[in-house]
């Protein structure tokens, strides 16, 4: 449980950090809160030559809220989100989802950027990013680029980040005050990775019909996914028990989770159906 030998650098600008990453041809790794990377080092599942610590980088730890939505710097920690009262209005789905992240100590160190870059398929932040169509700001040797969440997550613990790139900010689109939403997950113990989770939001038109439904799920695929068929079923309809039952059944057949030591795939699929039904009920309450 001792990490292999690695070099360590703590640059003071993003440009320096990018240069350090670029200098190692894929064998350098960014570290911020270290909540996923340190265990991987201790288990020797990862053995980077160089760790580039972001701790001295400025201006990456702000939560800015404006008319264009919510911007989270990559170094924003879970506890920062928890203690920012504005988010209860500006992005209640985010605030609720983050309450489920791990444990108190981990929430004091774990960061938004770290979780997104780590891309665990059952983690909350990637689920929120996917569901809400977040856009990532990424800085690399070639300059900076913006990537949609749907293109960012490419596989299990895999993203479109190149070896010389750093995720610096995530942008969540504006949140209308009347928006309906829910975030539900089920874990064996409080703070564990979710066996499955559902994030959803939609708006209502003047006649009380659903518009712009977003339904994202975590823990059931190699990355967070949207359930387009369920969204289609919800859009332009009024939410009632019949629609909830139909959407729930559709969700179950829309996912094909792998089986692992914790649960057979069929369980996770049924769990998505259960959580979606409960989430839809909750959103209407």
């Amino acid at each position: 449980m001792k990490p292999p030998i690695f070099e360590y650098a703590s640059p003071s600008t993003v440009a320096e950090a990018v240069a350090l990453l670029a200098s190692r041809d894929g064998s350098a790794k960014v570290i911020s809160g270290g909540q996923s990377l340190m265990p991987m080092l201790a288990f020797r599942l990862a053995a980077p030559e160089l760790l580039v610590d972001l701790k001295h980088l400025k201006n990456l730890d702000a939560i800015s809220i404006g008319e264009d939505g919510v911007r989270l710097g990559a170094k924003v920690r879970w506890c920062d989100i928890e203690s920012d009262a504005r988010l209860a209005v500006s992005h209640p789905l985010l605030a609720e989802a983050i309450r489920h992240v791990a444990h108190y100590q981990i929430r004091n160190r774990g960061t938004v950027g770290g979780s997104l870059a780590h891309a665990d398929p059952s983690a909350e932040m990637p689920g929120v990013a996917m569901t809400c169509e977040a856009r990532m700001t990424i800085v690399g040797s070639a300059g900076s680029r913006i990537e949609a969440a749907a293109d960012f997550f490419t596989g299990p613990l895999q993203t479109s980040l190149q070896p010389d790139e750093i995720l610096t900010e995530v942008h969540l689109p504006p949140w209308p005050a009347a928006r309906r939403w829910a975030f539900l997950e089920f874990a064996r113990r409080k703070g564990d990775f979710a066996m499955a989770g559902v994030a959803l939001h939609y708006d209502l038109d003047g006649t009380g019909r659903i518009v712009d439904a977003h339904v994202g799920v975590i823990g059931v695929a190699d990355r967070p996914i949207r359930l387009a068929a369920v969204e289609t079923m919800l859009n332009a309809n009024r939410l009632d028990d019949k629609l909830i039952a139909a959407a729930s059944a559709k969700a179950r057949e829309s996912v094909d989770p792998p089986s692992d030591i914790h649960a057979p795939g069929a369980y996770r699929a049924a769990l998505v159906a259960t959580l979606l039904a409960r989430g839809l009920k909750k959103s209407a309450a």
């Binding site: 030998i5 288990f43 020797r44 409080k190 649960a263 369980y267 049924a270 769990l271």
Partner: protein
Amino acid sequence: MKSFNSYIGRPMERVEDLRMVRGRGTYVADVNRPNQLYAVILRSSVAHGIIRSIDSSEALALPGVHRVLTAKDFGTKVPVIPLRLQPLPQLESFHQPVLADKKVRYVGEPVAVVIADSAAIAEDALERIALDIEPLPAIASRSQAEAKRAVLFEEHGSNVAITWSAFRGNADEAFKMADYVRRETFKVQRHAAMFMEPRGFVAEWDEVAGKLTVWGAAKTAWHNRRTLAAQLGLALETVDLIEVDVGGGFGSRGEFYPEDYLIPAAARIVGRPVKWTEDRREHIMSANHARDIECDVEFAVSRDGRFIGLRGQIWADIGAYIRTNGSVGPRNVAQFMSGPYCIEHIDLKSSMLTTNKTPCGTYRGPGRYETDFIRERMIDLVAQDLKIDRVELRRRNLVADAQMPYPLASITPYDSSTELDSGDYHAVFDRCLREFGWDERSKLRGQLIDGYYHGLAIGSFIEGGAAGPKEEARLVLETDGALSVYIGSSSVGQGLETIMAQIAADAMEMSYDKITIRHGSTSYVKDGYGAYHSRSTVMGGSAILLAAEKLKDLIRKTAAARLGCTAEQIVIDGEQAGFGGEHLAFAGLSDEPLEVEAEFFNKKYTWAYGTQAAHVAVDPGTGHVKVVDFISVEDVGRMINPLTLHGQAIGSIVQGLGGAFLEHLVYDDEGQLLTGSFADYLMPTASDFPNIRSITVELKPCPNNPLGAKGAGEGGLIPVGGVMANAVADALSHLNVQPMELPLSPPRIWQLVERAEAARSAT
């Protein structure tokens, strides 16, 4: 007027706690010796295979690496770990060598020891050792073991190591005569004690003095000292094993493991102190596993609901070797299945199967947890079939006070018999029902409230304690009037120092503050047996009582010589020895310390007993079970310290709940351990089970020891699996959901619900 002490029975705060909460505990990781090196162990990543070669040259080339020790460094024949309990000669071929020599038989088996300047360098070196193992088919389940796709011990020719037989009366006759017979199969999953602080050793060999000192012993230091001295060819007196503070034991810590030999032997070879600290991943694959059984069992019952007979077959997956106490669990499952109930005719066989998994040993309530799950489930199934209320069915079959002492089934080989010593089982049963509010709560049974179905269950248990043969105590009245108590019992976090001081203070009629409990070195008393089978309080405490009588005699004799009277005329009171108007204080009574030794011998187990009731709520959508309320009532004969006992009971119950719902060591078909960290092996956490109550009573003192106490360190855990499974079945009774396997994980409960609903809609 004579004053009397009454420390026993008072909720004295643990004297150990102040040290611990101030961060002043000394764990083995805190022990460091000058010039010390570090050991890390190369473990097999293959479940079953033949070692073709080990090439350490690249590892040795790494700066800071001193040695890579393999089997050939430990003599022509690698020492094996002898059995501490049930040491049957026919089990010798299953003993574990301290280092794999020709074959590896489980993932995690030690193959080599790297000695380096730091643990980090040693871990770097591990990756540079070229270990060539030719894989053999692995045995990872009962069916594979029985099909013999491989045999772990070729000379034995079978994967069935031994079969225990528990017998009483004539079971076959009873089954012929029975009005009703119910047969079922059950499984309990492999899980483990998983104590908080992993193991470790620091060993130092003093070449000049010819003396070996080992820090990190626990539980059974004297036994381990004898084993180690014999393996190293050293005289017993030249080996000292020292206990330091430990983060829990629960039966697993302190047994003799390969590292108990490897680290001291390495220190002797390299001539410098060697330290090894186990990490959690290692711990999960190397310390004893437990509880992995399957069972096919039958109950014979009369029409009026009297249990008549019990018979069946148990298969215990004991892993790759039989270690020190590996027979205890499988044997107990058979011998104690009848529990606190009258069953006159018993025929149970328990076969130990060798598989390519980590060896099993005892874990708090060994065999009892498993067997109580089976029995309590069977009782509820019988009650349902016979349409007898399950509370009434239990009451009808509990052993009555008038039947005491009541013999349990005998066991063979390594023959032994035991009898329940005393108890008013019905009184405790009724107390539990009352405290729980059974009748009132019964209205909730099967109700769906806020998405959860509610269910209740009740179950009774017995808890054996006080294993013999003996324990030692040495009492020294120092010249300043303080009392030093040296005992052979071990502290594994159970509050030993507190309890023993209470007992000694009352016995010597002395102030508690004047007493120091000294344990933790094999040089303190001649012999010691240690901390297992809930024995320390009864055995060590009784030895203190006997020694106190001797010390008082010596005090009387000493005082009499000074006061010019006979010893019989001396009255001891208030730390003074007096005759007539003259009083001599203990302080200054003699120029030399007054010292006595005593041994307490005991062949009869103590039998604490109790009843537990639970109220659960089950979410059929997720399979999640909420423990709404849980109560345990136990009679321990005589309570030394309600505070420590209460803590033991609650902690034990939480461990039982962990086994019922969360903890599972999962292997794949090739013998790879899939739950290698606490991310995958789920321990109960502080927020999981907040509603637990424990009540202790003192109805029937134990007749077989001078304290009247019964061992009580394990009880809370014993019936928890059975009670929880019955409560879940009760909550889902509208679906006739019947869990026959632990753990009651959300996916398992969900599957049972799905199947039950499918079955219902099919009819």
